[in-house]
Amino acid sequence: MTAVISNRPLWRLAWQRLRQRPLQYLLCIVGIALGVAMMVSIDLANGSAQRAFSLSTDAITGRATHRIEVIAPTGVDESIYSQLRRMRHHSPMAPVVEGYTLVEELGAQPMRLVGVDVFVEAPFRSYFGDDERLDAQSVQLLTEPGAIVLSQDLATQYDLKLGSELHLDIAGQHRTAQVTGIVAPNDTLNRRALSNLLFTDIATAQELLGQVGRLSHIDLIINQPEELQAIAAALPTGLKLETAEAQKNAVQQMTAAFELNLTALSLLALVVGMFLIYNTVTFSVIQRRPIFGILRCLGVTQGQLFTLILAEAALFSVVGSILGVGLGIVLGRSIVGLITQTINDFYFVVSVQQVTLAQSTLFKGLTVGVAAALFASALPALEAMNTAPSLILQRSTLEGKVQKLLPKLALLWVGLTLAGVALLRWQTGGLIAAFSGLFAVLLGAALLVPPLVSLGMKALASVGYQVAGVLGRLAPRDIVRSLSRTSVAIAALMVAVSVIVGVSIMVGSFRGTVVQWLDQTLQADIYVSPPTTTANRVLGKLNPEIVETLKTWDGIRLAVSYNDADVRVVDFDRQAKLISADGDVSQGKRPYAWIRPDLGADPWKALDTGSGAIISEALILRENLASPPETITLETPEGDRTFPVLAVFYDYSSDRGTIILDNDLYTALWHDDRVASLGLFTAPDVSVEETVAVIRTHFKGRQDLLVQSNRSLRQGSLEIFDRTFAITSALRLLAVVVAFIGVLSTLMSLQLERTRELGILRAMGMTPRQLGTLTLLETGLMGTLAGIFAMPLGFALAWILIYVINVRSFGWTLQMALEGRYFWQALLVAIAAALLAGLYPALRLGRMNIATAVRQE
């Protein structure tokens, strides 16, 4: 016999419930929406930045399969290109020169200037006509000096026409160019890709970028392995053949840790949102237990009840997730600027013209939102499923169960914390293991909340009576009585507030460490560099004449010159930052994490003699090395070279790792004698500010210089620091907003549940004021507990962020700096959020109809 099961009456009940408690479901939907929105916005902003970079890289790479690159930062000598062409390989080959420029007429944002040879372009990029036939604009590109081709979109956006003049600022050098061509690719992808590219003839690019006689790289299309081998064999020392994909991957790896950190932080809001979902569903189950009991008596199966609860959760989570995705897109548009700024500050130049919504982002937002809701609803749904077919089961049965569960929850806390610690200690587990450990610790702490609340409130009931009379006795007992719900709200608020404490301590410690590091490292009085195309990374070089003039400037007693380049660390097979210096700008005050024992306190003397390299701790920490390596091998234009490691220094300017070499050694091996920045020490009694002003005026017209006093450089560095963490502040605040909604929802449901009891209190003579005080006392207690619990948890979180997450993400050792304000501010936030959430239910209760309330069953 096949039993016929109809769910229609159940859906009707669900619909009625929704109509009875719309606000409760609305709050839950808002909670899910905010959690999903945060995740989507971060994903969207990260994705847009990556995609913008990837698109413009693809646009330049075109159909190239390989590229010849030079190890020296000065570029490929163009004679090598001629030699390779003379070898008459069958593979197409095209030279490329590229660099960054600011264009006044294009909103002064960084643009990629790409110089190409139109004669050999066709197989690679089809922007300049097909095959061997050149169109008119290509001919102009060749024949007119300063001719530039840009995309139709850019021209329309900035109202540029053929013949419009462009004023370029390339590392402070001003050049004029002219729009001679406008390309309009047919497909959207190409149009978007070209939106931050400017094309010019290779000779013009060389001249504009100051790279006369040199190429950035040579593109190749190689299909035959023999051809590949032949070309590789023909390359002189200092050049390497790489696949086109390799560079793109390297760039993506650079920001992986940064993006993972943001994603993890954005997930916190969703985790807090899960508490809210759990609470809402638990409420809906508990309040309907008698109905479920009757339904079970009438023949509703366990499976039907389980499905009903999960379907309800699925419904509002779908609505919440859709809203969240929409909100996330709006938020993402506003934070994309913040994220690209940080990427520009620390990693690579990218300009996001258009926020691109990937389908994966939409899918992720919806899936994670719904999955989180279903996961959070599973426990209460199981509870509903196990409702005995009886009419007399009351909520107290569940509370009784919760009381019995308390010792087990405490044990689970121990278990999860131990698991978390194990994950955090698992060095090779990387960031994923570290974040899993962090979430395990957080979840464990949340499980400890019910036993702690139970113990704390029982103890407080007698003290509360002494302080606030009968209300002081009622409030803590009411919290314990509804422990299954109140503890979840307290846990949600605790997690959110602990994030505030943890992140505040981490950011504060980070800032303190950076301030101290800047104080010790930056000892020169004046710093000179070309103006930055992006924010803090110097991409250009100083005019050699200016360097010479400044070194002998009146009133300057010492000048230290710096240069930097990217270098591949052969030992670890990854890119790092290479700095060459002809003196120590810190004058021996730089702090070291380790110095080779035979070198005494100052390893710089050994560096000056070219007897080794000083490396940053990020190199060691990101490779999980237990101790500094004895040597480090770097790829140089002269082949791989091994340098003894002299010392390990702290460096917070790069998370890729930094290697310092003596300037002479660097120049000899990398054939690059340019100077990127100068540190000037003024003679005694010379005014720094006046010297800065004079230098600025003196070189006006030759090259714009960024001349900064020590003070303004530090200030600028800290501004970048604060800007980097702006998004973190927004994320932690959002977690509190979600927790606030959780507390509000809990309180409203609790008040609804207790309407009759509160009505009796009112009937017995409790005044509206006393009832208001009781409600706020309860919420205040909940907030206080959340705040108090958040303090040790926040400290633990800070510890994990500083000593595990930061070390694994960026390889930086931070000095933990604890300040009282982090804790009391968090306590205030928790209490204020809870009290604010309690105000509305308190106001509603003050106006309750006692007769109706007392009649309620």
């Binding site: 009968v470 007992r477 009585r481 009891e757 003579g765 005044t767 004021r769 006393q770 006692i850």
Partner: protein
């Protein structure tokens, strides 16, 4: 406006009625029983589009020390009448005067304070506060009035002894039987020595034997102290113990049984 008044007003419902003094003159309330005068009392509820009349034009008087039973079926309007007398609910028309104080003209806060100090309530479903022990439940009304816990406990312990629960003072309500819970509720209703006791089906949720015992305790404690007791019930047997029985039907006072024993009925 002081912070205290603002706080009170924040939670109070809107009203322009004069506030009742927390310490009304001794002349207003007699020390033992209360005289309740009801004039043309009416109560209507709005149920969607329909206006439902629960009580209509009820006029009657309860004398000090009198035990009156309101007899009627479920939904007849008995409980509504009790709610209006206690000030829990506001009438649509008419007045309720207790010892010459028109409580229907008081604002919400004043009605609450009046109820707290001068009325004791016994409900059908006991309505004990589950988070408070037996003793704490009984001391609650006095403590809400700000009386010292020593004083409150003294009278509470005395009453709990009278109702036979002196050995259960630290027990929580969920560990007590229905009869025991109702005895605690009676002790709670009398602990602050109110002039007027309102009992809404006090035995309605108890078996017959327990109901009789509980009723006896309630009567012993009220009649001996001369308190006015108004009890709503649908049990005619209880009516036989009353001084006067009023039959309530469809919101009207239909018959007054002056002498229950003689069953001398007067049609209103």
């Amino acid at each position: 406006m002081t912070a205290k008044t603002w706080w009170s007003k924040l939670f109070a419902s809107n009203t322009s009625q004069p506030a009742f003094s927390q310490n009304p003159s001794a002349t207003v309330i007699a020390s033992q029983g209360a005289v309740v005068q009801i004039d043309k009392l009416g109560k209507e509820f709005q149920e969607g589009e329909i206006q439902r009349t629960v009580l209509q034009n009820v006029t009657l008087r309860f004398d000090s020390g009198e035990f009156v039973v309101l007899l009627g079926h479920s939904g007849s309007g008995k409980s509504t009448l009790l709610n209006l007398i206690s000030g829990i609910d506001k009438p649509s028309s008419g007045t309720v005067r207790i010892n010459d104080l028109a409580i229907t003209e008081l604002d919400e806060r004043s009605r609450t304070l009046f109820r707290r100090d001068y009325i004791g309530f016994v409900f059908q479903f006991f309505n004990l506060i589950p988070t408070l022990t037996v003793l704490e439940n009984v001391t609650l009304p006095q403590e809400l009035a700000g009386r010292s816990s020593t004083v409150a406990q003294q009278s509470a312990l005395h009453l709990l002894e009278r109702v036979g629960l002196a050995d259960r003072i630290h027990t929580y309500p969920d560990k007590l039987s229905g009869g025991q819970q109702q005895r605690v509720a009676i002790a709670r209703a009398l602990a602050h020595d109110p002039a007027l006791i309102l009992a809404d089906e006090p035995t309605g949720n108890l078996d017959e034997e327990t109901g009789q015992r509980v009723l006896q305790i309630l009567l012993d404690l009220t009649r001996n102290t001369g308190k006015t007791l108004i009890m709503a019930t649908h049990n005619p047997e209880i009516a036989q113990l009353a001084d006067r029985v009023l039959r309530v039907q469809d919101g009207h006072l239909t018959r007054v049984i002056v002498h229950p024993d003689a069953l001398e009925e007067v049609v209103v």
